[in-house]
Amino acid sequence: MASPVEAHLVLCDAAVSDPSSGKVHMLGAGWSLTSSPTPPQAVVVLMKIPWDRSNTPLPVQVQLYDGDGKPVEISTQDGLVAITGQGTVEAGRPAGVPAGVMLDASFVLNVGPLPLPPGRYEWRLTFAELEQCAPFTAR
């Protein structure tokens, strides 16, 4: 049986992930209350991948849901668009690292201003078999 993955969700104003190390440079992290329409924001996923699940592609997705648990969709020129980002994370095994350690990886989704009406929202993370959410309120 594969070891469980770990992850932490952090909301911030902006973020950039370092491709080589997995470290994340964040600005304005730790908020859960914002204005409406929402200013630019970023969703940061800090992941810990078990040694026995390295060199294996693991799907990661973050998506915005409203207070009723429905996916938020924005009307654009191309029709309704869900506020989501997804990718695949595959941690390699660095030479010399002891077997059994957790390997770091990260995923960042930067989002521009959104016309969200006041209310409660949450970013939901799906990473391998793990599900987490980071709620926030727009007022």
Binding site: G28, I74, R93, A105
Partner: protein, 67 residues
């Protein structure tokens, strides 16, 4: 496996014979480097930046707003 030496490095769970066979025959797409450990994405909403900017209030306040 017999002709491996100390300079070769394989993980225990790698299909070594398959990889070596593919290497010897010049096959492509058998292996690939892992994805970057950190990924940064930017959500793009076509034609939306200006529409949001039009709806933003330009009023000022003497209090710091949240966020």
């Amino acid at each position: 496996m017999a002709d491996m030496d100390v300079d070769d490095f394989f993980e225990e769970d790698e299909p070594i014979e398959k990889i070596r066979h593919a290497f010897d025959h010049g096959e492509r797409g058998v292996t690939a480097p892992p994805t970057p450990r950190g990924q940064t994405q930017y959500l793009r909403l076509p034609g939306y930046a200006l529409r949001v900017a039009e709806n933003l209030s330009e009023s000022t306040a003497n209090k710091l707003l949240p966020h």
